[in-house]
């Protein structure tokens, strides 16, 4: 059995762990909530797996389970990004704060 591609995937997995640690080790606490909800939206990437379950020729059961997965994952993705954007739109600097439109 040819396992090299699988090992590559494990390799990417390991590197991504370190990358994740490096990327956000110094985030100011004022951004903790948007960071959480923004990364939460990224975890909705499972939508890709959900879509692939909707293989037209495949099992009926798999399709319906996959359909539910698509719905939940899309809520996660759409809601997550929009909520984060709304939050970040509120973080204003002093000069913008006075005249900037309230969203």
């Amino acid at each position: 059995m040819e396992l090299a591609p699988l090992l590559l995937l494990l390799f990417a997995f390991t590197l991504a762990i370190f990358l994740g640690f490096e990327l956000i080790s110094k985030v100011p606490s004022q951004l903790h909530t948007p960071l959480m909800s923004g990364s939460n939206a990224i975890s909705g990437i499972t939508i890709v797996g959900a879509l692939l379950a909707l293989d037209a020729g495949g099992s009926e059961a798999a399709k319906w389970i996959g359909f539910a997965a698509v719905v939940f994952a899309t809520i996660n993705v759409a809601g997550g990004y929009m909520v984060t954007d709304r939050m970040l739109a509120m973080f204003k600097k002093k000069d913008e704060g006075k005249k900037g439109p309230r969203s």
């Binding site: 591609p5 699988l6 995937l9 997995f13 990358l19 994740g20 640690f21 956000i24 080790s25 985030v27 100011p28 606490s29 004022q30 951004l31 903790h32 909530t33 960071l35 959480m36 923004g38 990364s39 939460n40 990224i42 975890s43 909705g44 990437i45 499972t46 939508i47 890709v48 797996g49 959900a50 879509l51 692939l52 020729g57 495949g58 059961a61 389970i65 359909f67 997965a69 698509v70 939940f72 994952a73 899309t74 809520i75 996660n76 993705v77 759409a78 809601g79 990004y81 929009m82 909520v83 954007d85 709304r86 939050m87 970040l88 739109a89 509120m90 973080f91 204003k92 002093k94 704060g97």
Partner: protein, 475 residues
């Protein structure tokens, strides 16, 4: 050719996620970072649709329904409801990963032949895997995804106060938790061992049930003040669940993006734990805040003050620091507080807000509330920035914060929060504490700050108290 294109697009999406997370780490770039990561998601979805043979009407219907619900929820939610909304979205990500695992398992069951499934998988992904690998990944995606789902639902309930936010502890709890988790692991092992046949399916169903139960068991013993830790931990879990789903279908963008979220959520969890000087194990297993801890009786008495007294002191103050806590969120006092802060600035005082990392019920909770009230973010300072100047501050106003300003954390080695970093409110010349009643904080400790010589209590609803102070300034 098609597969190459799809995978190139996945790489592009991964890069956008990485830049997105990076830019979320700084206030000036955060919004653009979030938009970049959303663009990455769009690319990943479009790339996936390039696989031929998906059931189109289901794709469109599913995304339409989910997108509509998500968009409505995201635009309707009030800023004060943000913590529970994030918890809920997080749970949906978890259940989606569980369902992806279940759908793949259903594909294996279709012909009752794991060999055919692996072959189809190889054609789709270009990666060959042994059967045990696919089944282990399914088991882990189901276990972690299910735990994330119910754990997040309980967190949602506690944050929105639909269920009590007190820690629920009962005798034998640890033993039950360990039994459930061992049972779940046994379920995964059995599922793999039976190679996707009948017994494997039974084990899989039991596994789903145990994962859902475990999510509840894990979250109910966590009290309200420890919520920031649990929320960030569940956030991390949802990422790991997505990465596991990625291992099932051997998809690199799922593995990389899920893993990034898992790692960043874990960092946030560690930051939260440090801010409370406790280990993750202690938060998860101790049922902290359930039982009132016995501690040394505090000497002295709480001295109430009137609004007029407070007004006169504030009017003369050159520098004022606000220290908000969960009580400000409960009383919805942020707009009134902002008004008071502006009046103080017009009066010539230097105003700051000191934000403790675990103030409130989720990481950064206070920052979101104050941003909603249009408080410019330069005024919000972290504990380490404010503490050195605390002795020069004329007035510290503590609004519904308790344990995070309790000097006992520095002085009383026998108390349960000893060693936790605090905002040094007691070093200010005068401290006003806005508080509902005389009860102790989340930890069950009496707050020795309230009994200090330089502390005055302003009892009552925080919003009303601040509004009355504003009224004094305006008259």
């Amino acid at each position: 050719m098609n597969a190459v294109l799809i995978n190139l697009l996945y790489i592009a999406a991964s890069i956008l996620f990485i830049f997105g997370i990076k830019m979320l780490g700084s206030a000036d770039t955060a919004r653009r970072g979030n938009q970049l990561s959303a663009a990455g998601m769009l690319i990943a979805v479009v790339a996936t649709l390039l696989y031929f043979g998906l059931s189109w009407w289901m794709v469109v219907a599913g995304m339409l329904v989910g997108g509509t619900i998500g968009a409505i929820a995201a635009t309707r939610v009030r800023m004060t409801g943000m913590p529970e909304m994030v918890a809920l979205f997080n749970g949906f990500g978890g259940i989606a990963s569980l369902l992806v695992g279940a759908a793949e398992f259903a594909k294996i069951r279709l012909n009752n032949d794991i060999g055919a499934y692996l072959q189809a998988l190889q054609q789709q992904s270009g990666v060959t895997v042994p059967g045990w690998f696919a089944l282990t990944a399914i088991g882990l995606a189901v276990l972690i995804g299910g735990t994330t789902f119910t754990g997040s639902l309980v967190a949602y309930g506690k944050l929105s106060r639909r269920i009590g936010s007190k820690a629920v502890v009962f005798p034998g709890q640890q033993a039950i938790n360990v039994t459930v988790i061992l049972g779940a692991v046994a379920g995964v092992v059995l599922m793999v061992w039976d190679q996707g046949r009948d017994l494997s399916q039974v084990a899989g169903i039991v596994l789903v049930a145990l994962a859902l139960i475990y999510g509840v068991l894990m979250t109910i013993p966590i009290g309200g003040g420890d919520m920031p830790v649990v929320i960030s931990l569940l956030n991390s879990f949802s990422g790991v669940a997505a990465a596991m789903a990625g291992f099932i279908i051997l998809n690199n963008v799922l593995v990389v993006a899920g893993c990034l979220v898992g790692a960043s959520g874990m960092i946030l969890t560690i930051i939260m734990c440090k801010a409370m000087n406790r280990t993750l194990a202690h938060v998860l297993f101790s049922g902290f805040g359930a039982a009132a801890q016995s501690a040394k009786a505090v000497e002295g008495e709480m001295k109430p003050a009137t609004i007029e007294d407070a007004y006169h002191v504030l009017e003369a103050a050159q520098s004022v620091v606000f220290i908000p806590g969960y009580g400000m969120a409960v009383a919805q006092a942020q707009h009134a507080v902002k008004e008071l802060a502006e009046l103080l600035e017009e009066n010539g005082a230097e105003v700051r807000f000191a934000i403790h990392p675990v103030a409130g019920r989720m990481p950064g909770h206070m920052n979101v509330l104050l941003a909603e009230a249009d408080v410019p973010y330069e005024l919000l300072q972290e504990m380490d920035q404010v503490n050195p100047i605390m002795p020069t501050v004329d007035v510290a106003i503590v609004i519904g914060a308790n344990d995070v300003v309790n000097p006992a954390a520095l002085e009383d080695e026998s108390c349960s929060i000893y060693g936790m970093p605090i905002v040094l409110a007691h070093e200010a010349r005068t401290v006003y504490c806005l508080k509902r009643g005389q009860g102790p904080g989340f930890s069950g400790l009496q707050n020795s700050l309230f009994f200090r010589e330089n502390t005055r209590m302003l009892y009552g609803d925080a919003k009303q108290t601040v509004t009355r102070l504003v009224g004094e300034f305006q008259s």
